[in-house]
Amino acid sequence: MADGTGADRPTPKRRSNWWWLAGLAIAALVVIVLAPLASPDPDGLEKVAEDRGFVDRAQDAVYEILPGYSIPGIDDPFLSTVLSGLIGVAVLFGLMVLLGRLLARRRGPGEKA
């Protein structure tokens, strides 16, 4: 990998702190562009469960909020999938940043991490 050495360069100070917005935009794009194109076929485990007859063991959820990546009340499948996916992206980013802040070690400006 030609970039292997690049990874060892020291991080330039105050290099854009907004890269995470680009990362979030990529996650949102995956939801908007790719998720609606996803294969509707059951995944590997579910397919075997159907073929082997143990899919009947599955119990329904006791409550529903955004069941199966859809928004109850929105009939359009594209909107329903995309909006519920965007909610998930936002919730996970927010939850992880909150959790990370609670857990992170604070370092003094002089302390080398």
Partner: protein, 241 residues
């Protein structure tokens, strides 16, 4: 009935998109044992992360969790009538280290169960074990071993992560197979079928993981340094803790 009419048609035609093991697949005893094991390991991961996490890595944790959630929504075809989807454990662990990676996967799987009714609540411990522990912690050990074997992580990140990704999916498939066997839900023959289809899904996992890592390497290679900044092993070595 009223609920059904309000919900309307969903993308998969009435059936909701299900990515993870639902309640009922596993016996209560197996589900309980997996809850206990998972709680202990995730508790340890919280402690390790708390000891070592660098605050500069916090936004990366958020983005990684968001991206893996999004990526898991994209089922790709692997065989007639069968799809697979991203797991993401290796991606999380390579970027964040094994402990923070496990917490990210735990968060993804938990939100999917609580908010999206994907994956059961009784078997949530088992689902976290499969994806956040076997597919993340276990796969990270494979990743480091492979990288060391091939001549160092910086130069051999791609092949090491490809092998670890494939094995992460196979390890997850083996775990759920054994849990199903222990729950008297399946036979050994079924285990073969589950492993066989996941051998194909693992190729997709490796491709997506490698693509994501190459993209980061091309755009922000410094993000790879964040993990080393809070690698507990390095901390232990330098601080003697």
């Amino acid at each position: 009935m009223i609920l059904a009419s309000i919900a309307g048609p969903s993308l998969t035609g009435g059936g909701a998109l299900q990515l993870h093991t639902p309640d009922g697949f596993l016996s209560p005893a197996v589900a309980l044992v997996m809850w206990v094991v998972t709680a202990i390991v995730v508790g340890f991961a919280v402690r390790q992360t708390n000891r070592s996490l660098d605050e500069r890595a916090v936004p990366l944790m958020g983005v990684t969790a968001a991206f893996i959630f999004a990526g898991q929504m994209v089922n790709f075809p692997v065989a007639p009538g069968t799809s697979g989807h991203l797991l993401g454990g290796v991606l999380a662990a390579v970027l964040l280290g094994p402990w923070a990676g496990t917490l990210v996967m735990t968060a993804v799987v938990t939100v999917q169960a609580l908010l999206f009714q994907d994956g059961g609540l009784i078997v949530l411990g088992a689902n976290i074990f499969i994806m956040g522990i076997v597919g993340t912690l276990g796969a990270y050990a494979v990743y480091r071993f492979m990288a060391g074997l091939l001549g160092g992580e910086a130069r051999r990140r791609v092949p090491a992560s490809a092998v670890a990704s494939w094995l992460a999916v196979m390890g997850g498939a083996l775990s759920i197979s054994l849990m199903l066997l222990a729950s008297n839900a399946t036979t050994l023959e079924t285990m073969g079928l589950i492993l066989g289809v996941h051998a194909l899904i693992g190729i997709g996992e490796a491709a997506i993981t490698v693509a994501a890592l190459l993209f980061i390497q091309a755009t922000r290679p410094d993000l790879f340094r964040l993990r080393d900044a809070f690698d507990p092993m390095r901390l232990r070595a330098t601080h003697g803790a």
